[in-house]
Amino acid sequence: MRQATVSLIALLATAAITASCASASTLATPRCSLQIIVVMSPPGTQRPAASVVASLARSAKVGLTFLRDAGTGSYVFRLQAQDGADACQRGLERLRTDPRILAADIDARRKAAGE
């Protein structure tokens, strides 16, 4: 009886956790993703704290993940959004209007201008 009870608990737990994971995974799947360069205001601002990044992300309605420093005051982030393919671009535009940010640009690929 005790064994049966424990097994039932385990099965219920399995079901609950599995359902929870599936839901979280689906919600967390971004529809678009951009690597961006953010120059903080004023120039030379130290790497923003997690709370600041979270606040910037909320304001821009995007996900922001710090990747690395690009230079003093400029940082590389992963910007993600879930509202559609062009949501990242709209989010980037919103970031650019944030007074804490001097510039926010797509981290684009450049090529040599040789032969």
């Binding site: 005790r2 064994q3 424990v6 097994s7 608990i9 385990a10 737990a13 399995t14 956790i17 929870s20 994971c21 979280a24 995974s25 919600l27 967390a28 799947t29 971004p30 678009c32 993703s33 951009l34 690597q35 360069i37 120059v39 120039p43 790497r47 996900g63 993940t65 690395r68 420093d69 690009a70 230079g71 003093t72 400029s74 590389v76 992963r78 993600q80 650019r96 001097l102 510039a103 926010a104 640009d105 797509i106 981290d107 684009a108 690929r109 450049r110 090529k111 040599a112 201008a113 040789g114 032969e115």
Partner: protein
């Protein structure tokens, strides 16, 4: 740290005797002899305002000169030999007195000139682009410029590119009589970097080939397949190959240093790395990267993409301009609008020319272009025929990984605005060498000033059209066209003209912070400065607007002028400074009732002659490696660090048993010092890891590494007492350092055991036998699947059961069931724990978008 090193380097400059720059300066190129004492009779060129107003004789009489000889050259220009009555008068004073005469438009020394000597580099004959514009219209007259300067040992030009081949004999490291500073590799993405890691201190070019396997990956989808470009090595040769060394090609800067900064790898590179590299090259701190000990005055960027100038680039370029760092960028090869960052404000953007001075078809163009320079063009060729106007330079022959070093030529041609940019960057280097005070704005203005005008025709039949400003990204002009100042910049870059422009002094004006109507306004010109080795000898203030009833100037011929601010309106005061060779510069100041404003700097600076840079401290470079000893398991890693002292060149080369980078037998080591032991212990088992200074190859340090094959295996629990026929025991095992932690389980040496000694499952669940085995103990052994010689064991006594209770067995099972159930729950919770972060980690996954 940086300041200390800089101070050390500057101090060492005077001690240096073996730097590349110093060696290059002793090259036996024909030079004018050292200045002799001023002769009593001065040879002058004097242009009179009006040939009918006053002749040389009258001028000599007024000026108290004895006219030894004079002959009219043209349009009021006279070649005169004069001897001042005051025999002790200096040439500068003589010139100043002549220039003060109202009939004199200008007066200059009739200097002796010497035949120009081309460098003795054997391939220089093919470097048409550096030679006289009289032969090929777009050539930059470097030979003429070299008669004035071949660069400066204080000059650093950064090259943001694919890295360089440090072993190219016409480049070489600065510590080995070469031109290359250590630089840095700024490529963050490992696959793009193609050197096994992200950012590191090794700026060498490992190759940037892209094959079909690469383009099949999301990382490089859409990239063009091709062999390695050795692009950075090509650019470096143009900027400053070792010159007049009887080998290879000549570079624009015979003296000076090239700072290779790697930002391009497979399929290019990313803005974030390029921007970080720009800041670092200019001496700014970048987190996670050692500061650059050799800040550049000029940055060459032969790269771009068809985009608008991003704010990130513009802010960075503005920051660099404030530091006095000029950024030179190629226009691009699409025949369309200028690429970014060449289209950013404040850069010197360079478009490409054919040998006859027309725009080469592939060059992009537009109003952002500063000047144009040769980009290479192939004419009179068919299949297999030579490309007559290649930009010959250094390169490497390897199709993928590095091969032999060599040179581009008409058979292996070199084309692109990538190579126009370093021509101009090199010219800017020569300009900086003669006048290190020039700001980026002044450098750009004087590059333009020194340029030759574009031809209005082309020998091509039918005649090519006139270039037009692109209307958009699809408006391409991919064939030859006639350049205009709206499309190709101010003209064809000319080294001789640019250096001449750079030699002019810089007029500086300091204005008062506030101005009141009718009050004195004091304007200071004392901050003006002459070029390296020159001095400002005269100041002249004048009113240039309004032309009628100009206000008076007090101190019009001194460094400080005073004017009275108007009650209303404004006037413009011009300061003209003259140096001891007669070269001039002017700056205007607008004075209103309430302000005095000028675009001129308050101070022109005090570094006209760049302080020299040297790299080694008399050979006492030392290296230390940590740790000095290590025990490493086969296939596992050990990170070593090297500390280099007494040199600004910090990178080291790593060897294992004398093999650079090691090999599969003795283990490998990365450029950043990460040693990976071989798959099995070598013979002997101890190997030597050595760090060799790239500044001085005799400066080394080593560590001893003992490699053991076995993986450490642990078994848990190591002891337990079980009942024959009773409950089982679950064992776990770990295998350190192995790619796989899997083990095979044995009981008394029998894989899986048997009924006599008990059985053990593949997951380590041991069930004791129903009777006590022979010696009352069994040995449970975990054998690593990765290496069957690696194992661990536990000794397990098997006790006879004191009481046999089947229900107890059920109870035991029940207990076991409860444990199993709890274990399951734990696992599920762990799964949940692992699952949620996994879901949360989705935003951090890498993406290939925009690549």
């Amino acid at each position: 740290m940086t300041v200390r090193w800089r101070a050390l380097l500057v101090a060492l400059f005077t001690l240096a005797g073996t730097t590349a720059g110093a060696a290059a300066e002793s090259n036996p190129v024909a030079r004018q002899p050292a200045a002799a004492a001023e002769p009593a009779v001065r040879r002058l060129l004097v242009k009179l305002q009006d040939t009918g107003a006053s002749g040389p004789s009258a001028l000599a009489s007024r000026g108290r000169f004895r006219l030894v000889e004079s002959h009219h050259l043209a349009s009021g220009l006279h070649a005169m030999q004069v001897q001042p009555e005051n025999s002790g008068e200096t040439l500068a004073t003589t010139l100043a007195r002549l220039r003060a005469d109202p009939s004199v438009q200008f007066a200059e020394v009739d200097e002796r000139r010497y035949a120009h000597a081309a460098p003795n580099d054997p391939l220089f004959t093919g470097q048409w682009y550096l030679q006289s514009a009289a032969t090929n219209l777009s050539a930059v007259d470097a030979v003429s410029a070299w008669n004035t300067t071949t660069g400066s040992v204080g000059l650093v030009i950064a090259e943001l590119d694919t890295g360089v081949r440090f072993d190219h004999p016409d480049l070489l490291r600065g510590g080995s009589s070469g031109k290359l500073l250590p630089g840095y590799d700024f490529i963050s993405d490992v696959a793009t970097a193609n050197d096994g890691d992200g950012r590191d201190a090794d700026a060498s070019d490992p190759g940037d080939w892209v094959n079909s396997t690469d383009t099949g990956t999301s990382q490089f989808r859409g990239c063009t397949t091709g062999g390695s470009s050795w692009h950075g090595t090509r650019v470096a040769g143009i900027l400053g190959a070792l010159s007049n060394n009887s080998a290879g090609v000549a570079g624009l800067n015979w003296n000076g240093w090239i700072l290779p900064v790697r930002v391009l790898g497979k399929c290019g590179g990313y803005d974030s790395d390029i921007i970080a590299a720009m800041l670092w090259a200019a001496g700014q701190h970048v987190t996670g990267v050692p500061d650059n000990l050799f800040p550049a005055k000029i940055i060459n960027m032969s790269l771009g993409a068809a985009r608008t100038c991003s704010s990130s680039y513009q802010l960075t370029i503005n920051q660099l301009a404030a530091l006095g760092v000029l950024v030179v960028v190629s226009a691009g090869n699409e025949g369309g609008p200028v690429d970014s960052p060449g289209n950013c404000t404040g850069v010197a953007a360079v478009a490409g020319l054919r040998h006859v001075g027309t725009k080469v078809g592939f060059s992009s163009l537009g109003p952002q272009v500063t000047v144009s320079a040769p980009a290479g063009n192939c004419v009179n060729t068919g299949a297999g025929q030579p490309c007559l106007f290649s930009i010959d330079t250094t390169y490497n022959t390897g199709s993928t990984t590095p091969g032999n070093n060599g040179y581009t030529d008409q058979i292996n041609p070199n084309l692109g605005t990538s190579f126009s940019a370093p021509i101009v960057a090199g010219v800017a280097g020569l300009m900086t060498a003669v006048n290190g005070n020039l700001s980026t704005t002044q450098l750009i203005a004087r590059l333009r000033e020194g340029a030759n005008p574009f031809p209005s025709t082309s020998p091509t039949t039918p005649a090519p059209p006139v270039c037009h400003v692109p209307t958009g990204s699809t408006d391409l002009q991919q064939s030859e066209c006639i350049c205009t100042v709206q499309t190709c910049g101010a003209g064809m870059a000319n080294a001789s003209g640019a250096v001449a422009a750079a030699l002019r002094p810089i007029a500086a004006v300091s204005v008062p912070a506030s101005v009141s109507p009718g009050q004195n306004v004091v304007l200071q010109g004392i901050g003006s400065a002459a070029a390296c080795g020159r001095s400002v000898v005269a100041y002249a203030w004048s009113i240039v607007s309004p032309g009628s009833a100009p206000p008076g100037i007090s101190g019009a011929n001194t460094s400080t002028a005073t004017v009275v601010a108007p009650a209303t309106g404004s006037f413009t005061v011009r300061l003209t400074v003259t140096d001891d060779t007669g070269r001039t510069d002017s700056a205007d100041t607008v004075v209103t009732a309430t302000a005095a404003t000028t675009a001129a700097p308050a101070s022109a600076g005090s570094n006209a002659c760049l302080p020299g840079i040297t790299l080694t401290a008399a050979g006492n470079v030392t290296v230390a490696v940590a740790p000095s000893t290590a025990n490493v398991i086969a296939r596992s890693n050990q990170t070593f660090s090297a500390t280099v002292s007494n040199t600004g060149i910090l990178p080291v080369t790593w060897q294992v048993n004398g093999v650079t980078g090691g090999n599969a037998s003795v283990g490998t080591i990365t450029t950043s010092g990460v040693y990976t032991a071989p798959a099995s212990a070598p013979t002997p088992a101890t190997v030597t890891v050595t760090a060799i200074s790239t500044a001085l190859s005799t400066a080394t340090a080593s560590a001893q590494v003992t490699v053991s094959t076995a993986y450490p295996v642990t078994v848990s629990p190591v002891s337990a007492t079980l009942i024959a026929g009773g409950s089982g025991q679950t064992f776990s095992a770990t295998v350190a350092g192995a790619a796989s932690g899997a083990v095979n389980w044995q009981v008394n040496g029998i894989t899986g055991g048997n009924a006599s000694v008990g059985v053990i499952s593949t997951t380590g669940v041991y069930s004791p036998p129903t009777t006590v085995p022979a010696n009352g103990t069994v040995t449970i052994t975990a054998v690593a699947q990765a290496d069957t010689s690696s194992s661990a064991a536990a000794q397990i006594p098997i006790m006879a059961p004191a009481v046999t209770v089947t229900a107890g067995g059920n109870g035991g099972s029940g207990g076991g069931g409860a444990l199993d159930g709890l274990s399951l729950l734990t696992l599920l919770l762990l799964f949940g724990y692992a699952c949620a972060p996994d879901a949360r980690s989705q935003p951090g996954r890498r993406t290939t978008k925009n690549r």
